[in-house]
Structure formats: structure tokens, C-alpha cells
């Protein structure tokens, strides 16, 4: 029987952004079709440094590009047949990721045409690296029938929770993440930093997936285990108290790390019904 899926999401501005009069530089976008057989979630974290002064726009364009790109790819992935279906899906996903990066670059170009850099911004080198001002990470996940797809460029967390409540990370660690710098859509050859995965939920039943920007986990006392606890809790809450209750709590759950950690905090969930 085909699984049905739904999405939830929320975002909270960080206390340092409030203090420094910066905008919310995270973005989130979700989509699910009417019967819940396909869904897409995406989060993006615009870089906070002053050189990335349009990163709120960059993050917004990143999640739009991701949802567009994955929605376009889902019919082809859903139609795949054969024993090597997962490998074929990975190939399609890689092409979709390239299209998402191209789509983001085009959208940034259109935005820049409509809103050229000022002389002062150009004096800071904005024109010599036109994408830099829009720098952002991107994490996205999608489901079509029993295939789960993940892609990520830059920091943040992608967590898969099994139907038994066991959390795992479906993507490899970012070898370039040194705790200071993150990979970015604005870097030269962003696809070099692409991490992706394709999983069949028939192999191991899935309860939910959550994606979050790094603001959610950065200030946790249990720096190594918070994501496991978060996954277990989200699954238990959704089963015991219902998704409507989880949706109602999201703003409060995100506001606390945004206040104490200082950074914008965003989460998107893909939940199997």
C-alpha cells in the first residue's frame, strides 16, 4: 500500500538578528499533493556575514528553486521501474540538484537586474562576485510513493526517523564543514559540495523526516545527541498528541533556541500519515 505524507514547518528569527536589526535570513517552503503520495520540504539558511547582505532573498530563492526542481523531477522518479530503481532515482536526483542550482542562479540574476547593487555595495566588491551577497545553504527532502530523496549544500541537519523511532542521518558529513565556514550556493561550483541520498521506505519503514537550520541544534547541552532526541520526540508527539498539536507547538519549539542561541531557527517536517 502506498504511504501518505504531509508536511509541517516553522521559522523563528534569532535574538542576535533582532539585536543587530537584521532580517530573518532563514527560509522554508513545503508542498504536498492532494492525495499525499508526493511531498517536498526545503529549508535554507542565508549567511549572516555583512558581505552576504541579501542572504534573506538568497535563502527565499533557494527554497523556491528546490521545491520547483524536485516537483519537476518527482513524476520521472515515480515512474522508475526495475531492480536498480534506487540507482536510477539517484541519477535523476543529481540532475535535479544541478537544475536547482541553475534555477537559483537565474533567480538571483533576475533579482539583481531588478535591484542593482548600489555604488557603496559595489565598492565593497559586490559586483565582482555577484552571487556572494545572496549566499545561502540549502537542504531539501522529497517523497514519491515509497522513495525518499535528500539533498543538501552547506550546514544544517537532515534527520530520518524510522517507524520504530530510531533517528539516523541519511546524508554523509560535509567534509568541508570546519565549524566556521559552510559550503554555499554562492561558492564557485556549488555542486562540488552537494550531498544526496535516495532511500526506499520499503526497506525500512519511515516515521518522519525533519530538516533544520543550524540554529536549532547549536546551543543544545547534548551537542552530540540532540538530533536523536528530537527525532524520537517528534514521532512520539505526532502519534500520541496528533500532528495538529505538533504544528501548534512548532513556533514555541523554534523560538527558544532562536532566543538562547541567537541564530535564526527553522524546521520542516515530512511526516508519514
Amino acid at each position: 500500500m502506498t504511504s501518505r505524507w504531509t508536511t509541517l514547518s516553522g521559522s523563528s528569527i534569532g535574538s542576535v538578528h533582532v539585536r543587530d536589526q537584521l532580517p530573518l535570513q532563514d527560509a522554508v517552503l513545503t508542498w504536498a499533493d492532494a492525495d499525499g503520495s508526493q511531498a517536498v520540504v526545503a529549508v535554507a539558511d542565508g549567511h549572516g556575514h555583512r558581505l552576504h547582505f541579501r542572504s534573506d532573498t538568497g535563502a527565499a530563492l533557494a527554497v523556491v528553486s528546490a521545491v520547483e526542481g524536485l516537483r519537476r523531477a518527482l513524476p520521472a522518479i515515480g515512474a522508475l521501474q526495475g531492480d536498480d530503481r534506487r540507482e536510477q532515482a539517484t541519477t535523476v536526483l543529481r540532475d535535479a540538484a544541478a537544475a536547482i542550482v541553475d534555477g537559483w542562479t537565474d533567480k538571483v540574476g533576475h533579482h539583481l537586474e531588478a535591484h542593482p547593487y548600489s555604488a557603496a555595495e559595489e565598492a565593497q566588491g559586490a559586483a565582482s562576485d555577484a552571487l556572494r551577497a545572496y549566499g545561502s545553504t540549502l537542504i531539501a527532502a522529497a517523497v514519491v510513493d515509497d522513495l525518499l530523496l535528500f539533498l543538501q549544500i552547506g550546514d544544517g541537519d537532515t534527520v530520518l526517523v524510522s517507524a520504530e523511532g530510531v533517528a539516523s542521518r541519511p546524508l554523509p558529513e560535509d567534509p568541508d564543514h570546519d565549524g566556521v565556514h559552510t559550503s554555499s550556493l554562492c561558492q564557485p561550483r556549488p555542486l562540488d559540495a552537494l550531498r544526496l541520498a535516495c532511500l526506499e521506505t520499503t526497506d525500512a519503514p519511515v516515521g518522519l523526516v525533519f530538516l533544520c537550520t543550524d540554529g536549532f541544534g547549536r546551543s543544545r547541552v547534548d551537542a552530540d545527541g540532540w538530533w536523536r532526541q528530537t527525532g524520537e520526540q517528534l514521532l512520539a508527539f505526532s502519534r500520541e498528541r496528533g500532528l495538529a498539536w505538533v504544528g501548534e507547538q512548532l513556533d514555541e519549539w523554534l523560538a527558544e533556541p532562536a532566543l538562547i542561541g541567537g541564530d535564526d531557527t527553522t524546521m520542516a517536517l515530512l511526516v508519514r500519515l
Binding site: G14, V16, H49, S219, V221, Q229, Q233, L234, I260, G262
Partner: protein, 234 residues
């Protein structure tokens, strides 16, 4: 099961360390009184900064130095709990800045390596040329600070007091040519500059970015206020 998602959160400590010159020359022209007034005046501003930065736990320490370094507030103390007791200058006391920086370096060594924290903010105030009667040179003391991970990544600011302040050494302490180096020539300037430096340092140091923070932003206080009485004193 707790309703809090993801487990407990903690604010990161932001260590704020004043390194203050109480050498004999600070007795001239009311400098030590002005320094005490400046610290008294800066504390409410730091409490405001603490309230404006709920993501950081602002902890104060104060190290004074003349012939030798002496911790005035040795244990990192939440700014709300700091009660300032006026410092006395040491008559004929030297300016053993190298020894003080060595002591500062040792204190930074004691910071918990495993504990995540913001880079410390260190504000140095001095009115003279560093002496080395204790055998520790300024360069050796500075190196002791820079050899420490926290010392190397700290936001370091310095204020000279009067025309005899060794601005070259203070610039070396700051290390970053883009960070303003200020000299106060009267009590009003000293208060104004310490308040500015404290706010700038806490703001930069408490950004939620790991590693060396980007430099102090914002312009220093506008032009000199009051008469330059300390620059005319010998």
C-alpha cells in the same frame, strides 16, 4: 516525556576581562579616580548589554597591575553580581604589563576547552610604558596570551590614558590595524571610551559564529570632549 523539543539549551559564556593599570602614574591628575568612575559607569551599560544578548552569559573579571598583577575579580562573575570596590593606585608602582598579560594567559589556559563559549573580550587600560622589573617583558606576556586559543581569538581592545601611554604597545596588544586604538586625555573621554569599548567588544564577541570574530564595527566615539588635561601633564 518533556514537552521541550530537542533537550536542554544553554547560553554560552562570554568572558569579559578588564586589565587595568594601577601604577604610580595613575595617581597623577586624578586618573585613578577617573578609572574607578569609568568602571562604575560602564557596569550599568554591561548589564544592558547582557539583557540585550540573552544568548550570552556575560561574565566579568578584573585584573589590576602595577609592580605585580592582582586579580580584583578572579572568578568569572555574572555582571549583575559585580559590586565595584574602588581601586587604589600603587605609589611609585611600575607598569608590569608583561607580567599581567602572562597572568591573563594562565587564566585563559584554565578556561574549559570542552565548553563552548564565545571568544573572550579583553579591554586593556594603561597610562604608561611597560616596565619589566619582574623579568617578564611585554612581548613575552603578549605571546603568552596569543599562545592560548581563547587569547588568540579574543576581541582585544586597548585604551591609552594621557600622553605617556605607550600607544605602540597597546596597538600590538590589539593586533588588528582596523580596530580603533583610543587615547583618553581627560576623565570624560576615559568614561566615554571605556563605555564604547565595552559595548563594541560585547557586541562583536557575542555573535553566534565560531572562531575569530570579524573586527569591531561601528565608529569610535566622536571627537574629543573636555580639555586635554592629561596630555599636558608631564
Amino acid at each position: 516525556m518533556s514537552d521541550r523539543l530537542g533537550g536542554a539549551l544553554e547560553r554560552k559564556p562570554l568572558h569579559f576581562i578588564f586589565v587595568l593599570d594601577v601604577s604610580g602614574s595613575m595617581l597623577r591628575g586624578g586618573r585613578i579616580q577617573a578609572l574607578n568612575n569609568a568602571i562604575t559607569e560602564v557596569l550599568p551599560h554591561l548589564r544592558d548589554e547582557a539583557r540585550a544578548n540573552p544568548h550570552a552569559e556575560l561574565l566579568i573579571r578584573v585584573l589590576a597591575f602595577a609592580n605585580e598583577p592582582q586579580w580584583i575579580i578572579e572568578q568569572p562573575t555574572p555582571v549583575d553580581q559585580v559590586h565595584w570596590k574602588r581601586l587604589e593606585a600603587v605609589p611609585r608602582g611600575f607598569t608590569e604589563l608583561g607580567s599581567a598579560l602572562q597572568t591573563l594567559g594562565e587564566a585563559l589556559d584554565d578556561l574549559d576547552e570542552s565548553h563552548s563559549a564565545f571568544p573572550p573580550a579583553i579591554i586593556l587600560v594603561s597610562d604608561g610604558r611597560p616596565t619589566q622589573s619582574s623579568g617578564v617583558t611585554f612581548a613575552e606576556g603578549l605571546q603568552a596570551v596569543l599562545n592560548n586559543k581563547w587569547g588568540a581569538t579574543a576581541v582585544r581592545l586597548a585604551l591609552g590614558v594621557g600622553r605617556d601611554a605607550d600607544m605602540h604597545s597597546l596597538r600590538r596588544f590589539i593586533g588588528d590595524e582596523d580596530v580603533p586604538l583610543l587615547r583618553a586625555d581627560n576623565p570624560e573621554q576615559l568614561v566615554e571610551y571605556i563605555v564604547w569599548a565595552s559595548k563594541a567588544a560585547s557586541k562583536v564577541a557575542s555573535r553566534p559564529v565560531v572562531g575569530r570574530p570579524h573586527g569591531v564595527t561601528g565608529a569610535p566615539p566622536p571627537g574629543p570632549v573636555g580639555d586635554p588635561i592629561w596630555s599636558t601633564l608631564g
